[in-house]
């Protein structure tokens, strides 16, 4: 059974076929967030702090940290952000950059086993990222594109994923530490994008036996009512075997879909997480629970 174990200094998170879906909070990313980018550039990390805490509260088990700001010292800022986030939460981190020096700087300060986001099937990227992942004993997100770009043919994307898994093995990285992003296409641009993604996820699981992740909001690009489209995709993708997503945990439709899918998959024993998330809080001034003097024991994990 494939298990990708990520960790911080004090906590482990497992991505796997038989455990709850892992939501990796995407918010700490200045791409498309002008204010955050400007603040990070001048060393103001207050929003990074707030984003980290809010995402954990909303149910993210891991956090993605990206410091991709044009014309800035990305390695230094990324390392700084990682240290900050690790001081605030015990969630393992996905270190996110397309610049190898930034990944290196992030890994150098990281405590625990990180998820490196990401490597592609491009020869040069493979040669530079995989040794770094191996050296730090990290896991890696494998994006299924190569020099020729992103293929519209899911079979080709599968072959790229296979190539990355094989190359990772050459560097001593187990397939368990490769989490494949099958690249979800906008269904608004191509009717078959949804079904090919689901088929690809299934094949990655059954044939390569790897965990998978994705940017779930890609699927709804260009459409109205996006959160519900994302939610529909997420629950179907989980049914097909997807095991994690890099997404915004502050969006309730997506989180409800993930929690519901966990229940349906049998990964939420006694519906505990579902009930915890959706039990109505007691009305103000009322006793917490009927005649109960505030629990001293929690339900067993």
């Amino acid at each position: 059974m494939t298990r990708t174990v990520l960790s911080s200094a004090t906590k482990e998170v497992v991505i796997g076929f038989d455990v709850p879906f892992v939501v990796i909070g995407e918010r700490i990313n200045p791409t498309g967030r002008k204010l955050l980018a400007a603040e990070m550039k001048v060393g103001d990390y207050s929003r990074v702090e707030a984003d980290a805490l809010a995402q954990i509260r909303a149910g993210a088990q891991m956090l993605d940290v990206n410091a991709g700001i044009p014309m800035a010292d990305e390695p230094r800022i990324l390392a700084k952000c990682i240290q900050l986030v690790q001081s605030l939460t015990d969630a393992p981190i996905s270190i996110d950059s397309s610049i190898i020096e930034a990944l290196e700087a992030g890994l150098a300060v990281y405590k625990g086993k990180a998820l490196v986001n990401s490597v592609t099937g491009e020869e040069e990227v493979l040669e530079r990222v995989l040794p770094l992942v191996a050296k730090h004993g990290a896991a890696v997100v494998a994006i299924s594109n190569d020099e020729t770009g992103i293929s519209e043919d899911p079979d080709e994307r599968f072959q790229v994923a296979r190539k990355i898994v094989e190359r990772a093995a050459d560097f001593g990285i187990s397939h368990e530490d490769v989490v494949v992003d099958p690249l979800i296409m906008p269904v608004g641009a191509m009717d078959s994008a949804g079904t090919s993604a689901l088929n690809l996820i299934r094949r990655l699981r059954e044939e390569l036996k790897v965990n998978t992740t994705c940017g779930a909001s890609n699927v709804s690009f260009g459409l109205p009512n996006r959160h519900y489209m994302n939610a529909a995709f997420l629950s179907m993708a989980i049914g097909a075997g997807m095991t994690s997503a890099i997404t915004n945990p502050l969006h309730e439709p997506e989180m409800a879909a993930v929690r519901g899918a966990d229940v349906v998959m049998g990964h939420d024993p006694n519906c505990r997480a579902w009930i915890r998330a959706y039990r109505e809080p007691p009305a103000e001034g009322e006793e917490g629970r009927g005649g109960r003097r505030g629990g001293r024991r929690r339900r067993q994990a």
């Binding site: 009930i275 039990r279 629970r289 009927g290 109960r292 003097r293 024991r297 339900r299």
Partner: protein, 245 residues
């Protein structure tokens, strides 16, 4: 629990044997609420070692704990999976107490034969009622699904319960309850039993119409109604019971 020691806020560090009786019973109420079967078994044994009568353990620790669970279930604070875990914890205590209760000739809460009617295979609600009844200290004989008149009569004859509970989830199967009640009448044994009926499509009017004693809207209410009828019944039979002891 040991693996949690020293983690979080140390609230798992309760050592049952070190609590005085009142705190232990209160803790058992909490542990029932939280569905902790091992802890309930442990607490039950500790109380027995402290020379508590089995019947006192049953009523003050277990039944009272399940009463609280029942209230919060009724009020939508607890949900089905949680109540099932609580019932499971209760069972762990009952497994220890049952033989002792039988020996000691303690007063009975009551006995119920419960089953889903002919043509109907739905049993989640019926099972829940059974568990809540057990939680309240009733002896429950669950005869399963798809029961025809003969099956009910055989079970009544064999187990001599106080209560007959019938469940149906379909409008097409619920009229069969009337068939069963009519059969009881024909045999002249209708009044030997409290007849309770329940199921999603039923209502009070229907229960009256088939000749049941009461309609039970949900599992928590079933227990309340059963207790009410039992106290009436035992009120009249009390003298007989005393004489028997």
């Amino acid at each position: 629990m040991a693996e949690n020691d020293g983690q979080v806020d140390g609230e798992d560090d309760v050592v049952l044997a070190e609590l005085n009786d009142a705190d232990l019973v209160a803790q058992m109420h909490d542990d029932l609420y939280d569905g902790l079967a091992d802890e309930i078994a442990e607490g039950t044994n500790i109380l027995l070692q402290r020379d508590w009568e089995p019947y006192k353990v049953l009523t003050e620790a277990l039944v009272e704990g399940m009463r609280i669970v029942g209230i919060d279930f009724r009020d939508g604070i607890l949900f089905v999976p949680e109540v099932l875990q609580s019932a499971n914890a209760m069972k762990a205590g009952m497994a220890i107490l049952r033989p002792l209760l039988a020996e000691s000739g303690a007063p009975r809460m009551g006995k119920i034969v419960i089953g889903t009617v002919k043509g109907d295979i739905h049993d989640i609600g019926k099972n829940l009622v059974g568990m809540m009844m057990e939680g309240a200290g009733f002896e429950v004989i669950d005869i399963g699904i798809n029961n025809d008149v003969d099956a009910y009569l055989t079970a009544l004859d064999e187990h001599q319960p106080d209560i007959l509970g019938m469940s149906a989830l379909l409008t097409t199967t619920m009229p069969y309850m009337k068939v069963v009640v009519e059969a009881l009448k024909e045999k002249g044994i209708r009044n030997d039993y409290i007849v309770l009926v329940g199921g999603a499509p039923l209502n009070e009017e229907f229960a009256d119409n088939v000749g049941a004693d009461a309609y039970c809207r949900d599992a928590a209410i079933s227990v309340e109604i059963a207790k009410e009828f039992m106290s009436k019944r035992q009120g009249s039979a009390a003298a007989v019971g005393m004489a028997a002891q």
